[in-house]
Amino acid sequence: MITVHYFARLRELTGKGEESLDRAPLTVEELLDWAETTYPGFGKDTIHVAVNEEYARKEDVIQAGDVCAFIPPVSGG
């Protein structure tokens, strides 16, 4: 199982703040593809993924137990 977090626009689109997925291991790119398919309008091309609170690359592999977060363009400050 992995945990995925949704924030801001994605939280509103998915209607949830987080969920658990039984799909590990999978790459970041595969996770983004899954999200785009599951939630039309997800907009994966503008979204980064954090794995265990660190930005991850598309080819990084997510393992069971990892905590993931979809990071849409940030706008703090």
């Binding site: 924030f7 801001a8 954090a50 660190e54 990071i71 849409p72 363009p73 940030v74 703090g76």
Partner: protein, 146 residues
């Protein structure tokens, strides 16, 4: 308070400037970002900030490390508020001390640029006739004419 923190209550800049002050500091710069009523002719009623809190605090601390590396001798404290903020409320505070003033200015400006690039915080603007999460406009032009 923590040196790098997300808070959900009003920010008191004084706490952060006191945190960075020490006997070798000749200059302190404090930047505060405030909710602005008008942006490009659109009136903001209030803002809502959301964050991935643990990662945001970690990223703030990393920015602090970058600053200490680039400007040796600076001390830094930063906070960002989340939740609903009204006009003129402080959204972010950056306090930097340094023996000399140049580094205090430069490091402070560097911090806000980096916050806007890498810290997982999102702003929703609420206007009289709508609302929108900010940050994605460039890539979602269909979302509005603004």
């Amino acid at each position: 308070m923590k040196q790098f923190e997300l808070v959900d209550t009003p920010i008191d800049p004084q706490k952060y400037s006191e945190f960075v002050l020490h006997p070798a500091a000749g200059a302190v710069t404090v930047f505060t970002g405030h909710v602005r009523e008008w942006t490009h002719g659109v009136r903001t009623l209030y803002l809502a900030y959301e964050a991935y809190i643990p990662m945001a605090e970690k990223k703030l601390a990393e920015i602090g490390e970058e600053m200490e590396e680039k400007w040796p001798g600076v001390r830094v404290a930063m906070a960002h508020r989340i939740g609903e903020l009204k006009i003129s409320d402080i959204a972010v505070v950056i306090a930097v001390s340094s023996p000399h003033r140049k580094a205090a200015y430069e490091a402070n400006e560097y911090a806000i640029e980096r916050i806007k690039e890498v810290v997982p915080i999102w702003k929703k603007e609420i206007w009289e006739d709508g609302e929108e999460w900010i940050g994605a406009q460039k890539k979602y032009p269909e979302k509005g004419s603004r």
